[in-house]
């Protein structure tokens, strides 16, 4: 099966399973992003049709929420916290270090496709700031010194 066909089958299975839930759009978008890493533009017509929405409405929802993305992410996505508590513990320095180390800005992916970088406004880990999230793992007291070893470990887990 071609890649597009696989994608379509995955999306269709998700739609069938979830479309009858009240307010089904966000659960569907989450499931699609969990399965594919992003919500491909090609999946929008099928989702819109199943929920009797216009494609513009579905696109509007995808673009409203920071978490949903319409392009494929790197192998790992680093969510770096920008909020006040992290700033109080050197978050801004860490932010410049991370960007320089990866050679990318927010919303970008490294050339080797290993990491995408996204800002996040609070991970609720404020008692051990600065914090970041990679996949489902949260990391606390991240510093310019230990950042590299954390992402190397995360790379091994990928």
């Amino acid at each position: 099966m071609s890649e597009l066909n696989t994608m379509e089958t995955t999306v269709q299975t998700i739609i069938t399973a979830l479309k009858d839930k009240p307010g089904a759009l966000l659960p569907i978008l989450h499931a699609v992003q969990d399965a594919l890493g992003y919500v491909p533009a090609e999946s929008v017509p099928a989702i819109a049709k199943a929920l009797q929405l216009s494609r513009a409405e579905v696109h509007g929802v995808i673009s409203f929420y920071h978490y949903f993305r319409d392009t494929a992410p790197g192998k790992q996505t680093i969510h770096l916290c920008r909020a006040e508590s992290c700033q109080a513990m050197g978050g801004k320095n860490l932010e410049s270090h991370v960007k320089a180390h990866l050679g990318i800005d927010y919303h970008e992916t490294t050339a080797d496709g290993k990491f995408s970088l996204e800002p996040v406004y609070c991970l609720g880990n404020c008692a051990c700031s600065p914090a970041m999230q990679i996949g489902h793992e949260i990391y606390g007291r991240v510093s310019t010194e230990n950042f590299e070893s954390i992402i190397n470990q995360a790379e091994d887990l990928a």
Partner: protein, 518 residues
């Protein structure tokens, strides 16, 4: 006697190594042929001591921390499994001053039990509130909550009982209970702790709310940034269904309550209740006009209770011990306790649940021990990214909704973020405007456009350009946001911005005199 060891499964504890410590303890015990029972408890919220390992002894639970993997061998060498002496020995957990001085009502079980064990929950007074509620009329349940004086712990502090009463008295075939678990405020984590460390208390609180107002469906709107809480909630909900605490005919009462977790998608504004409901309905999270109130026309147009995690998690103890018991804590119109969260640049970060009335200074120094860096605490932001910065001169404000409001400050959800004297308040004010721009839903003009103009003006101020023109412009803009925004996002962003300007004018390049002249 079998040996029981506790290593927290809380996400902050994990973020600094708790999983690795748990694994190392299991391996080391095997190596030494010691049989242990390892329980992944919730966190006590003494975060500067995490990962905090506890061991059960005849005298009680003894704590060691902060434990790293490299400490595990020496802990076993010191016979920590029997409470042996070690440099990381902290004594009996319950005797640690930080914990001992607290009044834990909502957090009574947190850190003690295995969060996803229903047996643990029940043996620690769980489901007694529901048991009492099932014997009461709907109006009497609402009355107990009203009598307790409980006010919305999400930050708005609206009396919970009044909200419930409106929903109870609005006839409808379908009503809903929504738990607002979109805890987006920086410096806050009490909701997360409840959901990760005692998910059943939230489930019980929502079930009581459902029975009280006649709602059969509940949703927990959880932020996607809380993956550990998501797993804990789903596991606990599944167990509650299996044991007849959710679903049809709850504990043989004939009452129905169903519960589902829905994930947000990284939009701060969805913590605003009407935007949250739009999101639950599958739409962009645009704020709705009020009225109609959600209690009359909420989710899918039906009467809906929207309460914060802590509000709902405080309901079981109120129904268990009575409204009067809860109301006897606190001061003035702020009754009960508030779980405060000490974060940012503070030495002893953590969760402090105390009755309303303690001063901010006591919290920062007696509990927090001052700044983490050892420098002077320059400012404290209380109440999240929409809360004012308090300078040292306001540290004696009692932690009470009205006392804070009188200072043009916000107690909100109880998040406290400390900054040392390296913080630049103008940079922070710029960030507050930038945050508002990033998170604005775009429905109203003051917030959508004002926030962007706000950080542009801040850029000029930080560059020292035309301060005589730009400072009044910033104030004027804040005035528009304050008075013209549809919800608290635009309406309260001026709190941090103007408090930074008013209390720290030098950071904005002006002296006190120039500031007051505007």
């Amino acid at each position: 006697m079998s040996i029981t060891i506790f290593v927290p499964c809380d996400s902050t504890a994990i973020s600094i190594g708790a999983d690795r410590v748990a694994k190392a303890i299991t391996q080391e015990a095997q190596k030494r042929n010691i049989t242990i029972k390892l329980i992944r408890n919730g966190s006590r919220g003494l975060y500067w001591l995490e990962p905090m390992v506890e061991v059960l002894t005849d005298a009680g639970r003894i704590a060691y921390g902060p434990v790293q993997v490299s400490d595990v061998t020496s802990l076993f060498d010191a016979d920590f499994v029997n409470g042996g002496a070690h440099p990381l020995y902290l004594g009996l957990t319950e005797e640690i001053e930080y914990l001992k001085k607290q009044q834990r009502l909502t957090f009574a079980r947190i850190g003690i039990t295995d969060p996803i064990s229903l047996e643990d929950y029940i043996s620690h007074e769980g489901y007694q509130g529901l048991s009492n509620a099932l014997k009461l009329s709907q109006a009497d349940i609402v009355k107990a909550v009203t009598d307790s004086g409980l006010r919305g712990r999400g930050g708005a502090a609206f009396p919970t009982g009044i909200k419930w009463n409106t929903v109870l008295n609005t006839p409808s075939e379908q009503k809903y209970i929504i738990c607002n678990a979109d805890e987006g405020d920086s410096g806050t984590f009490s909701d997360r702790m409840v959901m990760e460390s005692d998910p059943f208390v939230l489930i019980e609180g929502m079930t009581i709310a459902g029975i009280a107002v006649g709602a059969t469906q509940g949703y927990i709107y959880l932020r996607v940034e809380y993956p550990h809480a998501h797993v804990a909630l789903n596991t606990a909900i599944e167990k509650a269904y299996a044991a007849g605490y959710l679903g049809d005919n709850i504990q043989g009462s004939g009452k129905t309550f169903n519960l589902e977790v829905r994930l947000g998608a990284g939009a701060y504004v969805c913590g605003e209740e009407t935007s949250l409901m739009e999101s639950l309905e599958g739409k962009r999270g645009l704020v709705r006009f009020k009225p109609p109130l959600p209690a009359i026309s909420g989710l899918f147009g039906k009467p809906t209770v929207v309460n914060n995690v802590i509000s709902l998690a405080s309901v079981p103890i109120i129904l268990d011990k009575g409204g009067d018991y809860y109301r006897d804590f606190g001061m003035g119109r702020s009754r009960g306790t508030l779980p405060l969260q000490l974060a940012g640049n503070i030495k002893r970060t953590g969760l402090v649940e105390v009755a309303f009335g303690m001063t901010l200074r006591e919290l920062l120094y007696d509990f927090g021990g001052g700044s983490a860096t050892g420098k002077t605490i320059k400012a404290v932001q209380v109440g999240g990214p929409l809360g004012s910065y308090l300078p040292e001169s306001q540290f004696d404000t009692p932690l009470d909704y009205e006392a804070f409001a009188a200072n043009w400050t916000v107690l909100g959800h109880g998040g406290v973020v400390a900054f040392d004297d390296t913080a630049n308040m103008a940079e922070l004010a710029r960030y507050n405007m930038e945050f508002c721009a990033a998170e604005s839903c775009g429905k109203c003009t003051p917030c959508r456009i004002g926030s962007t103009r706000g950080y542009e003006v801040m850029d000029e101020i930080i560059a020292g350009q035309a301060l005589d023109k730009n400072i009044p412009l910033l104030r004027d803009l804040c005035n528009t946001l304050l008075n013209g925004s549809l919800c608290a996002l635009g309406g309260m962003t001026p709190y941090p911005v103007l408090s930074a300007l008013n209390h720290f004018p030098k950071d904005f390049g002006i002296d006190d005199q120039a500031n007051t002249a505007v």
